[in-house]
């Protein structure tokens, strides 16, 4: 992919293997990734790097991904960055909860490569 500026994706994910998976998939398709395992650091990283998309694991050890999303959506400078929730919770009401939390989309674990990439492309081409 020949792009002057590769699109940047901030991945907030505490599981090392999943982080590697998301990174590898995005990297293979020409996206640049910024990674953090801690929700608390996500806001600062978003301010610093201005990513084009944020992939947010909802189940984080310290602070919930929904909380972090709320911080981002409450920030005037960051609120336009789309946030895609990634969660292993796939129960009734989860999707609504996540959408109400301000996330633009929702990918449930386990992912398939195709749907994962489709969702990412939907937001940042």
């Amino acid at each position: 992919m020949l792009q002057a500026m590769p699109k940047k994706v901030l991945i907030v994910e505490d599981n090392e293997l999943n982080m590697k998976l998301f990174h590898d998939l995005l990297d293979a398709h020409g996206y640049e990734t910024i990674q953090t395992r801690e929700g608390e650091k996500a806001l600062a990283l978003a301010r610093e790097h201005r990513p084009d998309l944020i992939l947010m694991d909802i189940q984080l050890p310290e602070v919930s991904g929904l909380k972090v999303t709320q911080w981002i959506k409450d920030d005037a400078d960051l609120k336009d960055i789309p946030v895609v929730a990634i969660t292993a919770f796939a129960m009734k009401g989860d999707e609504e909860r996540i959408r109400e939390g301000g996330c633009e989309a929702y990918i449930s674990k386990p992912i398939t490569v195709k749907s994962f990439l489709d969702t990412v492309r939907r937001f940042i081409g």
């Binding site: 293997l17 590697k20 590898d24 998939l25 292993a88 129960m91 674990k109 490569v113 994962f116």
Partner: protein
């Protein structure tokens, strides 16, 4: 305790006594040929009990009987002076006997008292007769034939009293009924005198003397319990309104009921509720533990799902990336392995989902989210989801539905999952080039969803166990046909939550038909909505022990 009966009997005793006196005097007058002063005294004293009885508005109530006895003792003392010596004593006893006998209908001690008085009187009279009817001293009255008559009168009276006491089937049977009662019954005077104990007295007041019971309430109750009881006793005796309350004494819980009896005493019923109270506490604790357990289990399964899905994400994601050859070509064998890893991972994922659904359903934590929708449309799209899987095995997948919509009031997600599970099973257990058919139709007030296949089928025994968690048919346990058996359990549970049921028919080796029947049709479709709703409301929880058919 039939107090009315008791009153009648007291009256009868006194009437009997009066009759005996009158007959005795009349006979003596006839024999002696003259009415003497002695006859007058005898009549007056003999008639006194009956007179007082008629004067007393409450009839033979305990208190008026006591008054009567006092009066009789006084007049007996007068008789003693009039007649003199031991003869006078005998007469006085003779007069008191009926009253004590009347009162004794209720009290054993006084019956003994009455009997001994009668015995004493009879003995003295007999002594008089043996001495040849010697005139009494003092007033020098000639008693004539009176000793003989007295002996006969005492005899008649004693026999009459005995007969009356025995002829009390009501009292006797109610007494035995009372003694069967699992509560202690105490007849207590307003001042706290225990008159009588019946029922399970000995059990409730274990360690206290049973026969006779303690004379005072203080000997049965202590401390605060007694204080409360004395107050309640006074209140009930005063107002006549029954009172009931519960007390805890020395680790015992007792239920007390107080009610005023017609004779002014109070009936105190005491029930040992300690076992009840302990039982209730234990039940409550057990229920709490069960609820906590169910909640914890649901929570546990929710976190288990998460813990399993997270690594599965890596398994499926990386194997998918290999399968898609995302980073370039890989040897055919490795591509095949990646495919197998991915498939196994998906299978694990299905099981995880089923376990969670089944556990939530078992814990009652799965609530239906009903809405109104077209079942045909939903089921049609569901069938499409498994088309790819059917094609892989070259199966013919058919969906049959009547023209138009079938409007239902049900949980969309549940209905979709039910059909999905049935179809997945059918596809899993049907050999290549077989046929899987899904049908939907109305049947009375019910929606029927049916999936039939040309698969391995089930025998009768397997059919019976169908839909229970972790029950899979032996014939279904091939290497390519693994499953937890939870899929059908979930279908069954969801159908039951809708007030419906799972039906199954199968021929081993030829195939199976599994049918969901649920009363979820909308009124526009069936007109029998009330019926369907009523059935729905009856069956709320999932019961795994039911048979599927």
């Amino acid at each position: 305790m039939t107090t009315v009966g008791h009153d009648r009997r007291s009256t009868a005793v006194l009437a009997l006594w009066a009759a005996v006196v009158v007959v005795a005097v009349a006979f003596d007058v006839a024999v002696a040929g003259a009415f003497t002063r002695l006859h007058a005294v005898t009549l007056a004293l003999g008639g006194a009990p009956l007179t007082v009885l008629f004067l007393s508005p409450t009839n033979a109530h305990g208190s008026s009987l006591s008054l009567l006895r006092t009066l009789l003792w006084s007049s007996s003392a007068a008789g003693l002076v009039l007649l003199g010596g031991i003869q006078g004593w005998a007469f006085s006893a003779w007069f008191v006997a009926p009253l004590t006998a009347a009162a004794a209908m209720n009290r054993r001690m006084e019956l003994i008292e009455a009997a001994s008085f009668s015995f004493l009187a009879a003995g003295v009279v007999l002594a008089l007769m043996l001495s040849g009817g010697a005139p009494a001293g003092g007033m020098g009255v000639d008693v004539g034939a009176l000793p003989w008559i007295s002996a006969a009168a005492v005899g008649v009276f004693a026999v009459g009293c005995l007969r009356l006491a025995k002829r009390n089937p009501v009292e006797r049977s109610s007494q035995s009924m009372l003694d069967l009662a699992p509560i202690a019954l105490l007849k207590v005077s307003p001042s706290g005198d225990v008159q009588r104990a019946a029922g399970a007295y000995a059990d409730v007041f274990e360690g206290l003397p049973a026969d006779p019971p303690p004379r005072r309430l203080e000997e049965m109750f202590a401390g605060l319990a007694l204080k409360d009881l004395a107050g309640a006793l006074a209140a009930v005796a005063e107002s006549g309104d029954p009172v009931g309350y519960r007390v805890d004494v020395d680790g015992l819980t007792m239920d007390l009921r107080l009610s005023r009896l017609p004779d002014g005493d109070v009936l105190l019923a005491v029930r040992d509720a300690s076992v009840d109270a302990a039982h209730a506490l234990r039940l409550e604790a057990e229920r709490d533990a069960a609820v906590r357990g169910a909640l914890e289990r649901t929570k546990f399964f929710a976190s288990l799902t998460h813990e399993l899905r997270t690594p599965l994400n890596a398994v499926l994601g990386f194997s998918d990336a290999m399968r898609e050859k995302l980073f370039g070509p890989l040897p055919a064998k490795y591509a095949e392995y990646a495919e197998l890893i991915n498939e196994s991972g998906r299978h694990m994922l299905d099981i995880v989902g089923d376990v969670v659904d089944a556990s939530r359903m078992e814990a009652g934590g799965l609530d239906l989210d009903r809405s109104d929708f077209d079942a045909v449309d939903l089921l049609k799209t569901t069938v499409r989801l498994v088309e790819a899987n059917a094609q892989k095995k070259s199966l013919t997948l058919v969906f049959t539905a009547p023209d138009g919509e079938i409007l239902v009031h049900a949980d969309r997600r549940a209905l979709r999952q039910m059909l999905l599970n049935l179809l997945s099973n059918a596809i899993k257990f049907t050999p290549e080039k077989g046929r899987v058919e899904a049908k939907v139709r109305r049947d009375g007030p019910d929606l029927m969803v049916e999936v039939s296949d040309t698969g391995v089928g089930m025998n009768a025994e397997e059919l019976k166990r169908l839909g229970r968690p972790f029950e899979q048919t032996a014939s279904g346990r091939g290497a390519e046909q693994r499953g937890s058996g939870l899929g059908l359990a979930v279908v069954r549970g969801l159908a039951q939550l809708h007030g419906g049921a799972l039906e199954a028919a199968s021929t081993p080796g030829e195939g199976s038909t599994i049918r969901i029947r649920m009363p979820v049709l909308q009124p526009s479709a069936s007109g029998e909505r009330m019926d369907a709703r009523a059935r729905m409301d009856r069956i709320r929880r999932v019961d795994w022990s039911d048979d599927a058919t």
